[in-house]
């Protein structure tokens, strides 16, 4: 293992411009949200700040990833560099796992402790005195505050859209693996086909997820502000949906790259990283299907 071939890039304008983009997004989003909540109080044109920030960041990320791809294809990366990217991606996914863990932890706490306590059960059942009429049940159709904070009329039936979505995502993991094997065997046409199938399955998943949200909002009264059931439901499935969208987008980029002739049977970490991410998103869904929809 020698480091003399380790590539240390020259100075780069990407990070500083990306930081400007990020602060634009943060300050813009903050301003927009405060505007929304306070009815127009705050600084002028936060939307513009947010838009400019987002475009700047998108522009930089595009160029940054392009440069990494160009450098990689120019043969500037040693196997050791490849290893850095592998470790980096692995630890990034671990950080994502912990992000979802926070929300799953909240769900566990509410169902296992906070809810029953409000109902007068268990060690801290004295909190029942807050709302003596409250009976705990999950899904929580009646919130502790009762009529002041109406709960959902019904919740999503796990055995329709969610089951279908489970099948879709599970299959997409399989098709992605087929594409990966084909890439290793240098069957480019087969890779392109199965990767396209994967992206389409992901897109269908997102489509059904949107349908499910529309049903929840328009028919079931299941909304973000329908109490803790809606809060945990939408935040968990919502962040997962965002991750599916990002993952499908990354896979789509990989599809374009394969069509352009990128990757070799033994050098295709970009593809593998996207695949790791996709399988991670898939595993989160299994957790969601179990703990949010079924149980």
């Amino acid at each position: 293992m020698t480091t003399s071939s380790y590539y240390v890039p020259e100075s780069s304008y990407f990070p500083i411009v990306a930081s400007f983009g990020l602060i634009g997004m943060a300050a813009g989003a903050g301003g927009m949200i405060n505007h929304m909540s306070s009815g127009g109080v705050g600084y002028a044109f936060p939307h513009l700040v947010f838009l400019v920030g987002t475009l700047l960041l998108a522009f930089i990320l595009f160029n940054w990833f392009s440069k990494v791809i160009i450098e990689s294809r120019a043969g500037m990366y040693s196997p050791q560099m490849d290893m850095s990217y592998r470790w980096g991606m692995g630890w990034f996914i671990f950080s994502e796992v912990m992000f979802f863990a926070a929300f799953f932890g909240v769900l566990l706490y509410v169902r296992q402790w906070a809810g029953p306590w409000l109902d007068g059960q268990g060690d801290k059942g004295s909190s029942h005195m807050l709302w003596p009429d409250f009976d705990y049940a999950w899904p929580m159709f009646n919130n502790p505050a009762g009529a002041d904070l109406p709960g959902p009329k019904a919740v999503i039936d796990p055995w329709h859209i969610p089951l279908l979505n489970t099948v879709l995502l599970m299959s997409s993991s399989v098709t992605l693996t087929i594409a990966h094997h084909a890439l290793r065997a240098m069957h480019r046409g087969k890779t392109i086909f199965w990767l396209a199938v994967t992206v389409i399955l992901g897109a269908i998943f997102v489509y059904y997820q949107v349908l499910e949200y529309i049903e929840a909002y328009t028919e079931l009264g299941l909304t973000l502000d329908s109490g803790i059931y809606g809060s945990t439901f939408f935040m968990l499935t919502g962040f997962h949906g965002v991750h599916v969208t990002i993952g499908a987008f990354i896979l789509f980029i990989m599809w374009i790259r394969i069509c352009k002739g990128h990757f070799t049977p033994d050098q295709h970490f970009g593809f593998e990283a996207a695949a790791w991410y996709w399988h991670f998103v898939d595993m989160v869904w299994v957790g969601l299907f179990l703990f949010v929809y079924i149980l």
Binding site: P9, S12, G230
Partner: protein, 527 residues
């Protein structure tokens, strides 16, 4: 905006670019380390001024200087800036400078991302500080931002606070991943894991903690954002949530976070004491295992911050005993430091003085921590100045002294010049006296019942508070001596040898002083 990948220089033997853009565009781990360290020092002075405002108000009972609302903003911003702006970036700066030098790597593993990790921070803190000048005022709910203070009753600046925390989180996670990857992948041949210097080991474990808990912080502030602006009920019992849930999620982040702020200091002290005792570190392997144990335990002790919030008895007991377990690996460390010094040929240069003060004063903070760990006793101590005394003892003469010790220790390697030893010792003694005069009396007023985060207090606490304020000013202004020494050393001074310290061992002492812009382009071989 053209691409800045200049091609006229070859790799390996060119110096830094000229002018300000060197610092803005750099991918060099030494430049980025320097940026982190100066940023941290700026934040230390900023947060320090806020602390002095707080102490000035507390000099006498009654309200004299500021409004209570502003007092709350000062305590909140002081905490946030010191934790996220001063201590953490200072450690990341030291890691950037020293980890590649200590493991024989040419740079950090992901140099461009390294630059981004840094440059996010000035923007994030700029936004946070800017809220001070808005009509709504800065965040005022304490650095722990408990719901519903930080949700239902928060000023509108909380939205910017939330996005600021997100930016700090992105920076920390990228920085931590970079350090982990560098350590795992860029060690010189022969540098096995169990040969790594302890500073590298402690940072490796710290980085793991960062990657594990910063996303949880991101999660909890996101839930706050949703509760405040989008009608969710995470921390609202009326909708089936629970404000106590906020504290659980926050402290699941927060407790590992306090070890994030101390483990690298353990590493620094473990480098310094062997050098100035001229003996190898006693119990190297046990140090590694102790650090790992502390990291593991940090995940199962969080609710000791919440003993009085109303938890089931068995939960109180579990968290009480788990917390006390931490004393064991920490005791191993203190034992090893003392044993390293036993029969050593000790000299007492400034880094060693700060390291010794660290061992003694951190241990005092550890003991008051043990007192707080006892759940029934904590019912008395909770939210008093005893807690303030406890965590300032582990963070100021703990984490901060560790950082200062490290800066003095490595400064000759960075600048090529020795600092002025007389001035260094003067800085040490002023800091040492200042810190104890400030924080030791807080134990007494805390045990007597003075609550924290209140701008006024009962008359019987007046004397100790006056003493603490005097100490705070001594300590605060002593740091200007530090600034003077730093600038003086950068500008010149007695030339440092390559080894710098007679008893120093390790790869970083084999390269010239000052360290060349690029080091270890060819990996050294470690026996």
């Amino acid at each position: 905006m053209t691409t800045a990948t200049a091609s006229h220089d070859d790799h390996g033997h060119h110096g830094p670019a000229k002018g300000i853009m060197r610092w803005v565009l750099t991918t060099n781990h030494k430049d980025i380390g320097t940026l982190y360290l100066w940023f941290a020092f700026t934040m230390l002075l900023t947060g320090g001024v806020m602390a002095l405002i707080v102490r000035t108000e507390l000099f006498q009972p009654g309200m004299q200087l500021i409004e209570p609302e502003f007092y709350n903003q000062m305590t909140t911003m002081h905490g946030l800036i010191m934790v996220f702006g001063a201590i953490m970036p200072a450690f990341v700066g030291l890691a950037n400078w020293m980890v590649p030098l200590m493991i024989g790597a040419p740079d950090m593993a992901l140099p461009r991302m390294n630059n981004w990790s840094f440059w996010i921070l000035p923007f994030a803190f700029g936004m946070l500080l800017f809220t001070l000048f808005t009509e709504a005022g800065a965040p005022n709910f304490g650095w722990t931002f408990y719901a519903p203070l930080s949700t239902t009753y928060a000023p509108s600046s909380v939205t910017y606070f939330i996005f600021g925390v997100h930016m700090m989180g992105i920076s920390s996670i990228m920085g931590a991943i970079n350090i982990i990857v560098t350590i795992l992948n860029l060690r010189a041949p022969g540098m096995t894991l169990m040969k790594m210097p302890l500073f590298v080991w402690t940072w490796f474990i710290t980085a793991y903690l960062l990657v594990a808990v910063m996303p949880v912080l991101a999660g909890v502030v996101t839930m706050m954002l949703m509760d405040i602006h989008f009608g969710t009920s995470f921390f609202d019992a009326a909708g089936g949530g629970d404000p106590v849930l906020f504290q659980h999620v926050f402290w699941f982040f927060g407790h590992p976070e306090v070890y994030i702020m101390i483990l690298p200091a353990f590493g620094i002290v473990s480098q310094i004491i062997p050098t100035f005792a001229r003996k190898p570190l006693f119990g190297y392997a046990s140090m590694v295992y102790a650090t790992s144990s502390i990291a593991f335990l940090s995940f199962i002790v969080w609710a000791h911050h919440m003993f009085t919030v109303g938890m089931p008895l068995q939960t109180e007991l579990f968290f009480m005993y788990a917390t006390m377990l931490i004393a064991i690996p920490t005791g191993v460390k203190v034992f090893n430091w003392v044993s390293t010094m036993f029969r050593g040929s000790m000299t007492f240069e400034t880094p060693m003085l700060f390291a010794l003060a660290f061992v003694v004063l951190f241990t005092i903070g550890g003991f008051s921590g043990l007192m707080l760990a006892i759940a029934p006793a904590d019912f008395q101590y909770h939210d008093t100045y005893f807690v303030v005394a406890h965590f300032h003892y582990v963070l100021v003469p703990g984490a901060l002294f560790g950082i200062i010790a490290g800066v003095y220790y490595w400064l000759p390697k960075w600048t090529g010049n020795y600092y002025n030893e007389k001035l260094g010792k003067f800085h040490f003694w002023m800091s040492f006296i200042g810190v104890n005069v400030t924080f030791f009396p807080m134990h007494f007023v805390g045990l007597a019942g003075m609550p924290r985060r209140i701008p006024d207090y009962a008359l019987q606490f007046a004397d100790f508070n006056a003493i603490a304020t005097v100490g705070a000013f001594i300590f605060g202004f002593s740091q200007l001596i530090f600034l003077f020494i730093l600038i003086k050393t950068i500008r010149g001074g007695e030339k440092a040898t390559d080894q710098v310290w007679e008893g120093a061992e390790g790869l970083e002492w084999t390269i010239p002083s000052p360290a060349p812009y690029h080091t270890f382009a060819e990996a050294p071989h470690v026996k």
